[in-house]
Every structure is written in structure tokens, then in C-alpha cells.
Symmetry: C2
Subunit: 378 residues, 2 copies
């Protein structure tokens, strides 16, 4: 193998596939990056066996030569060193060349690295995916849907299925749901698809977070292929594979109340800041609980009390309030997490009593819903 | 105590005194910030008993009212909560008011915090310092001198005296020296003073680092007062006290060679980058050692070899080379630390053999000197 490549393109691709490489793997070869030089260009692959990422660097792009292949071939190089080295090389062009015995020479200007490589035939094969049913979604929408749901997955392995986000597809309707059983995030969107197939799968939260980090807004559309145990996201020159979680996701539809007894509309930003301040003292107590009380139709009060430190009272104007008066306690962290995902300037909070889950939605937008279970304090 | 104050000024002063507050103290009241409101303004104090910082906020500045004192008084508030609270208050004006039983009310718009305070009489007094001998130094020069020496102090407590920077003052000559016994940094400067007193003291490296962070470049000149066991740095509205380290600093003058056998001049940036790349593979071995060899009068070679990973060779043009050929090994980290403190575009490295300490200086500037002990590899 011998090729010359633009350093910046190599650095970008290495950074992308590094998202899938972990040093904590039981399969030693997965601490490496696989490099395959073919007549079409150079493909880099990283994998931690849950996530696999392939980034392709084409020979030419818009008539500009990016890679010059002198001899096709393949090698696996230690990801930790290879990624650090390419970032710091002195010149714009880099030559990579495999000599006898898998010795790989990386040359850039007067800088020359010799790395011990590993035979690429020993690298595990990526999943083979039949692309029968493909649906597509704009990149920015996909990133928004991930951001608005993935924070709510469980971080505990006691119910592994809850560490993933439930994707339900029926025709052109995609619904993403995440819950850790104390709160729930739900986001709906319309996707493009040629098929009428329906899916109900659970994608690991970590996979979606990593995917989101890699996708830049240059990619217009992401194609998605779902199989029995894998999902593949395809962007330009990028393949992102994730395994699916096994098991049945709980039916969350019954958790979401259909009616409410108290509806409050507030300004998102002022409400978020008041919760943030009230939580400054609540954070010390382990539970981080704040209390919300309706004072009258124009004012709500957020408060918190930690006897050893002090107390805080925040008064906040409510744009509207309908229904019964209410006192309710909840996790300030869950509320702030939820509020940060809502894009509107005003939100509606719908309560059905101090002991029942309540929902937060942007005003006049039913594509997103955040649900929080209150905390008993009386 | 009751006063109203501009929030941004309060936030800035709290941030400054927080540099001296640590949660790991055996004296509980030192986890607090002392607030004293007098007819002149508000003084905040933080201390960890090694460092004490007092920040003063005057009532008015350039005819603008900053503090409105309604009732003088004092209180100590938990630093962790007080600093977080003031940062997040909603309005530009903040009222702080001590009620009965040390209850302190912080009000800003519709946000009201009640904090349990501590009696300010229980707070330790700051050292009393006689200001007989004062010398002064421009802020940017002081910050440069700290940056160019403090990195070389020892981080080990086996010889506590080496965790400080040795300040030697004779008349108007200030010399700062730091060493961890494997390398040494020395910086000289001229200061303004009315006295002929001479000093030889050791200031904890940590104190100097914190001082550097607080001083912004608005402060023109810093006044310095040294006593038997304390040093006081005075800037506008700021007092910074540090204890001095006890004991005699070793005589380092004999460590610095007066003559050399090989002198090499190189471009600082290219040399730093070559060392950085060569150390990528060396870092893995615990010692982080790279080798420098003179190839001929125009070229030097930096190399490193880690049998399990690979090797790297960097060729670098030398602007000039005088004297014997040389092969020498040293810590890449020490070399990079030293190079980052040198401001010139070209540096001279003066060697007196592969086993002797060598020195790095900017070309045509003898106010700064970095010394490194080589590593034996043969």
C-alpha cells in the first residue's frame, strides 16, 4: 500500500472514525483504525463492536485531487498514535506506505514516522446490510430529534432497554421516545420513505449521541436502513452502524395523561433561569427538588429550602393560568434538561394533580412533549 | 448591614477572592467569604491560610455610584453558594441585608435568597504588614516572570522548599529562580524601589499562579512588600497576601555552566513542533525521552524509538552550529515547557557534553535562561 493524501482530509476522517474507537475493548485489534486504499480512494474504519464508523475519502472531489493512490492495499494502525500523529504533521501532503512486515511509514516534509501495523485481514467485517427499505431525514431534523430525546435515557444498566431511544416508524411517521422511568421525552416527525414497512426498535443512546457529533450540517439528508439487529445511517462518504438493543420497549403511551387540571403558560427563558437559581441551594441536598406553587392567575412561585444553608423564593409572571391552584415538587435537573430541548419562547405546563406526571410542551407545537414525574414531599 | 451594589462588580470581586477559598480546609469559617460594608465601600475577603485575598469595591468610581451603603456591618457567607448565587441573579442591582440571627437576605428583582451567615468576628485577621520597603513592577512584567519560572517548581513535597520560586532582590535587580532538580528556570528584571534593602525569599508556586490569574492587564503597576514570613502584592482595590516558604533555597548558581562545547541556533516554533511530534511515541514509555543529534552544520535530527509502537525521525535545519558534534537525550516535556516560555523567534541551545546540563536562551537576550539535565540512555 502506498498513497499520498491531503492532511486536512485525513485528519477529519480519522477524527470521525475515532468516535467509535475505545481503548477499553477486549478485542485488541479494535484499538486500531483500518485503512484501505483502493482505486476509488481511501476508506478508514473504527469500531467498538457496538458502533462502527466508515469514513471514505474519494480520490478526487470537484476536480481537485485529494488522494493519489500509487499502490492499493490495507493496514491497521494503533488509533491513539495514528490520530495524534496526523494532527501534528508539518506539511499539507502526507504519504503513507506499508513496507515489508507491516511496517508503515508516514512521511510529511522532513518528519518520518515508522509504526508497527497489524494485518488488516484480522479486522472484523462490518455488518452486511440489505438496503431494501431506506428512509431519509434531513440532517438538522435528525440532530434535533436526538438532542430532544437522548438526554432522557436511563444511565443505569438495571433495565438495559431504557438506555436506548425507542424509534417507532409507521409509514412516514417517526416517533422517538426515551425514558428513565422518572421522566420521558417524546418527539414526532415526518420522514421520506418509499415503503410502508413499520418498525419498532431501540437504538443505544450512546450511539445516537456519537452520531450527532459526527454529522455536520453540510450533510443535507441522512439515509437510514434498519435490520433485525442493526441500524445504518448513511451520509455522504460516511457509514455509521449501530447495534440495536434487544428486548421489548415498555408501552409508554398510557403514562402520558390526556387531560389536565391546571395549565400554566410561562416564558421559557425566565422559567428556566428561576428553576436554575432555585436549584442552587437544592443541589446540596441529594434530591435537587424545587417546589412550584400557583400564587394567583398572574404569578407562580418557585422555591427551595435547605435548612442548613438557607432558602430561596422566586416569583415569576405566568402568561396564563387555567384550572385549579397547585403546589407540586419536582427535580430541578429534570425540569432544566427538558426546558433546554424546547425551542419556543413560551411553554405550556399541564398538571393533573400534585402526585401525577405532568407534561411540558412548546405553545402550539405538538411534535415534542416532555413528561416529568413529581416528587412526594408532603 | 444593608447595601445595594452593582451585580457585575460584585461578581468580579467574588471571583477574585474565590481564588483563595478552598473547600479542603480544616478551619470551617475559611470556606466562607467575609463581607464588610463600611462608609467607603464593600470589602470581600477569601483565604486558605496560605493565600489571602481582599478585593475592595469603592462606593463610587469616576462619579458613578457602585455601592449604596444603607447600614455598615459585616457577615461571612458560604463561598460556594454565595458565588454561584451572585452569578445567576436576574437584575443589575443586588441588595444584601443581614437580619437578626445572622440571616442574610440577597434580593435581586423577584428573586430572594435567605442564607445562614456566620459572625464576621470569628473570621481570622489578615496579616498586618509594615510598608517600610515597597518596590513596584509593571503588571505585565510580573505576569511574564511568573509564567517563565513557576512551571519549573517541584510538585513533590519531598523537598518543600523546591515547590516555591526563589526571589532574590538586590537594589533594583530582581532574579526569579525555580527548579525541581531536573531543570531550572531563571528570569531577571529591573524593578523600581526607593530602598537599598536586599531580600532572598521563596514564594509558593501555587500563590504566584493564583496571583497571575487574578491580575488583569488593566492594573498598571503592582506594589510588593516583603516581610519575614509574608509577601503582599498590592494592585488597585486588591490585596494579595501569601506566606513565604521556610528554609534556605539551594545555591543554584554553580549548576549553570559558564562555557559550552556545542552551540546550536534554531527557529523556536519549528524546533518545538519537531519535539512535540517526536514525543508522540516517547510519551508511551514512562520517561518521554527524545534524542537530539547534530547531523552536520546545517541539520539536526530529533528522534525517538519505542520498540512496541514504532519510531520517529525529524530533520530540522539549524541556523548555525558551532563546536563539537553531539548526541544527547532529554525529556521532551521539559524541553516543550521551556520553549513555550521563550518569546523570541530564534533560540540558542548551549551544550557542554551529553552528560552535562544544557541551557536554552532566546538569541541576544540574557534576561531569561532555561536549563535542562539530560537523561542517560547509553
Amino acid at each position: 500500500m502506498r498513497f499520498t493524501i491531503q492532511r486536512d482530509r485525513l485528519v477529519q476522517s480519522v477524527q470521525d472514525v475515532m468516535k467509535a474507537v475505545t481503548s477499553r475493548t477486549t478485542i485488541p485489534i479494535l484499538t486500531g483504525i483500518k485503512i484501505v486504499a483502493s482505486d476509488e480512494g481511501v476508506a478508514l474504519t473504527g469500531s467498538d463492536s457496538d458502533i462502527s464508523i466508515e469514513s471514505f475519502i474519494p480520490k478526487t472531489e470537484e476536480d481537485e485531487v485529494i488522494v493519489n493512490i500509487e499502490q492499493p492495499g490495507s493496514i491497521v494502525l494503533q488509533a491513539k498514535f495514528f490520530s495524534e500523529i496526523v494532527k501534528k504533521l508539518p506539511t499539507d501532503q502526507v504519504e503513507i506506505h506499508v513496507e515489508n512486515h507491516l511496517q508503515t511509514v508516514i512521511t510529511s516534509g522532513k518528519s518520518q514516522f515508522n509504526l508497527n501495523g497489524i494485518d488488516a485481514d484480522e479486522y472484523p467485517h462490518l455488518p452486511q446490510i440489505e438496503e431494501d427499505n431506506v428512509f431519509s431525514i434531513p440532517t438538522d431534523l435528525l440532530k434535533a430529534m436526538v438532542r430532544q430525546t437522548v438526554f432522557a435515557v436511563s444511565t443505569s444498566e438495571t433495565r438495559p432497554i431504557l438506555t436506548g431511544v425507542n424509534w417507532q416508524i409507521e409509514g412516514s411517521a417517526l416517533t422517538c421516545i426515551a425514558t428513565d422511568s422518572h421522566r420521558l421525552a417524546l418527539r414526532k416527525a415526518t420522514i421520506e420513505t418509499a415503503s410502508e414497512a413499520s418498525y419498532n426498535v431501540v437504538i443505544p443512546g450512546k450511539s445516537l449521541s456519537e452520531l450527532s457529533k459526527i454529522l455536520d450540517d453540510h450533510n443535507d439528508t441522512i439515509q437510514i436502513v434498519i435490520t433485525e439487529n442493526q441500524v445504518l445511517f448513511k451520509a455522504k462518504n460516511l457509514l455509521f452502524f449501530s447495534r440495536l438493543l434487544e428486548g421489548n420497549y415498555p408501552d409508554t403511551s398510557r403514562l402520558i395523561p390526556n387531560e389536565s387540571k391546571t395549565d400554566v403558560v410561562v416564558t421559557t427563558k425566565a422559567f428556566l433561569q428561576a428553576i436554575d437559581r432555585a436549584s442552587l441551594l437544592a443541589r446540596e441536598g441529594k434530591n435537587n427538588v424545587v417546589k412550584l406553587s400557583t400564587v394567583d392567575d398572574q404569578v407562580i412561585e418557585i422555591s427551595s429550602n435547605s435548612p442548613e444553608i438557607g432558602k430561596v423564593i422566586e416569583e415569576l409572571p405566568s402568561i396564563s393560568k387555567e384550572g385549579e391552584d397547585l403546589k407540586i415538587s419536582f427535580s430541578a435537573k429534570f425540569m432544566m434538561d427538558a426546558l433546554k430541548t424546547l425551542e419556543g419562547t413560551e411553554i405550556k405546563i399541564s398538571f393533573t394533580g400534585a402526585m401525577r406526571p405532568f407534561i411540558i410542551t412548546p405553545l402550539n407545537d405538538d411534535s415534542i412533549l416532555q413528561l416529568i414525574l413529581p416528587v412526594r414531599t408532603y
